[in-house]
Amino acid sequence: MRRGLVITIVAIALSLGVGACGDSDSASGRQTLSWFIARQPGGAVEALAARCSQASGGRYRIRVELLPSQADQQREQLVRRLGAKDDSLDLLGLDVVWTGEFANAGWIRPVPEQTRQVVSRNVFDSVLETARFENRAYAVPIWSNTQLLWYRKDRVGKPPTTWDEMIQEAERIGPKEGRIQVQANRYEGLVVLVNQLIESAGTSILAGPEQVRLDEAPTERALGILGRLSRSPVAAPNITTSTEDTARQGFEDDSSSFMVNYSFVYNSAKSNAPEVFKNLGAAKLPRVDPDRPSAPPIGGINLAVSSYAKHPDLAFDAVRCLVSPANQLEVTKLEGLPPVRDDLFDDPAIKTAYPGFAEEIRSSIQNAAPRPSESPAYQDLSLAIQRAVHPTTQIDPQNLDAAYDRLREKVLDAIKREGLL
């Protein structure tokens, strides 16, 4: 009896050991590449992995390792493994703001020049910028994302061009139907909002990887809008805990006339709230100053190859396949996520995916202002910005100096990477 147990345990241990080394089909010489990437509801990740495995002609097979859907959790899973120099990761799907951190830590390989030339052809400059660190490409963009202003066509004649106009218009409609939905919980989405306001006011958070910019007058204009919106009766009652999803729900329940959000809300409204969907309009994000364009945020995923990958050349081949124009369009079809190549926006598939707002998406990505992720301490910076402006209801539009000083001080500390955050 006892011997039987011992034999079973040994057998399990051996089979696990064998399984762990089963990295290649020894007969055919085909290598297995693992691709760590966030789960996508439409199945695009699996579809692309299968396509490229097929197209490799037996050289490699891509095994998908799904990460959680929240960006913070994806990053935690990846950095834990990379921090321990885990060599079982080959391809990594990185959020656009992680490039600096991962490259500086030595976790990802620079993209070889030849590959870089191929994969950056026709790609939006704003997107390429997110894949660079210290003037070198460390990642390859695969899909993008950006926010639009969604509004109710039945309540709003013409979409507002500035935030001030929007708040006025919403207050005219009243808090029963005129609410404005944004993302202001203490999380990354708040940094997205703050960054686009600051950029649209004509300044930026950083002037270089370790240099703070934050010009006073424009930063205060941006913070003023945030404070005014948060204290207005048309702010969502849960504004201090609002996320992309609570904004979507608040818009779909008919209480809101405006929403700043990603394009997933289009299909969601279509299936969840047909009445709202009938009057759903999309426009570019409102401006801070009437004479300066808005600065839409940029999201999406860049692919990188781990420094500890055993077959980096094959991995970069796989990256080239995964980001091919046909595959980018497949992602748009399955997930509704926009491609990173400008020329693909002329494809009819884009018009199908974004009926009536394809041009808004295109120009938003084109004019997008990335978050200050050139700093390798971006995570510190993000936490510091969140702490400085949350809860946004505490920003007093009459006393913006206090809010400004707080933000500047926190950002300076974060750049020095000192103290608790």
């Binding site: 950095v79 500086n104 999380y187 201090t240 390798p376 995570q379 936490l383 990477r417 608790l420 955050l421």
Partner: protein
């Protein structure tokens, strides 16, 4: 402990049994060795490693910048407002939740002890919350109080769009509720075990002498329950002080609801600043030790090896 009693027991015949005693002691050591070895490996090594890390500048994102910095990390933590507000909030959560759990747990234990019928059913149903994974329980309550998906705001007397996690004290109440709901059964179980050790004869005698139920509770149950009560309180305090899951799920520390564990998590996992994060962890460890010390020395809580003889 056991080796001592063996030695004492064989005192009668020193000349011959000292050989036997030695052999027994050797055997005892050998029997303990694997357990001690395993403990050293899985607890002492990580603790020592954390202390070593806390004296260094280690940030996984900046591998070339590491080096010994002495107590700088501790200075950074102890001089930070965040740390002290975290300690204050954590202590508040600990005190309030353990106090409520004690009262409810005691009531449940008495009910379970005195239940005339359906004992098994009552005990099982009381234990269900404790059997649920903390994160799952936290999510369940989070969704219940969420203004979009929850049922709580549909109850009469509550504003329909009340944002529970948008304000410090409402978030605090929900966190306390979750903690209490989840761990009261643990408290009740420990107290029930204590109740079972009390001799029924004492109650009979007291009844004969004319003691009412309140007197019996105050004069018999409470004093005899003291050892079990203190152990239960100690365990829950140590546990509650490390509160993490429900806060992480509900507010992630926003609205000034940051516990010290959330703070440690932010430095270690989000910022990958192992030096600073280890300093936070070591300080949490010291605070937990302090709680245990106060209980054992101050209130005379019997630790298990003393068999509750105090």
């Amino acid at each position: 402990m056991s080796t001592l009693s063996i030695g004492r027991g064989s005192e009668g015949d020193p000349g011959q049994t000292s050989e036997k005693t030695k052999a027994e002691r050797r055997l005892a050591f050998m029997l303990c060795a694997p357990a001690v070895g395993a403990m050293l490996l899985v607890t002492v090594y990580p603790i020592v490693y954390a202390i070593v890390l806390s004296l260094q500048k280690v940030d996984l994102r900046f591998p070339e910048e590491s080096g010994f910095v002495g107590l700088d990390n501790y200075a950074a933590v102890l001089s930070s407002d965040l740390w002290w507000s975290g300690v204050a909030f954590t202590s508040l959560v600990t005190l309030v939740s353990v106090a409520i759990e004690l009262v409810l747990g005691m009531a449940l234990a008495l009910i379970m002890h005195r239940a005339l019928f359906g004992r098994g059913l009552i005990r099982t149903s009381v234990l269900i919350p404790y059997g649920i994974v903390t994160v799952v329980a936290a999510f369940a309550w989070f969704f219940a109080f969420d203004p979009n998906s929850g049922f709580v705001n549909t109850l009469p007397g509550i504003a329909e769009d009340k944002a529970w996690f948008g304000d410090k004290w409402s978030a605090f109440s929900v966190i306390i509720l979750t903690e209490v709901w989840k761990t009261t059964p643990f408290m009740a179980l420990l107290l029930l075990a204590g109740l079972a050790t009390i001799d029924e004869g004492l109650y009979e005698a007291a009844k004969v002498d004319g003691a009412g139920p309140v007197q019996r509770f105050l004069r018999i149950t409470l004093p005899l329950l003291k050892p079990a009560l203190l152990v239960a309180l100690l365990f829950r305090m140590l546990d509650a002080f490390r509160v993490f899951d429900s806060i992480f799920v509900m507010t992630r520390g926003a609205q000034d609801t940051e516990s010290v564990s959330i703070l440690g998590y932010n430095q270690l996992i989000s910022r990958l600043n192992l030096g600073l994060g280890s300093a936070v962890s070591v300080l949490i460890f010291v605070l937990v030790l302090l709680i245990a010390f106060v209980f054992v020395r101050g209130f005379g809580t019997a630790v298990p090896s003393q068999g509750g003889e105090k």
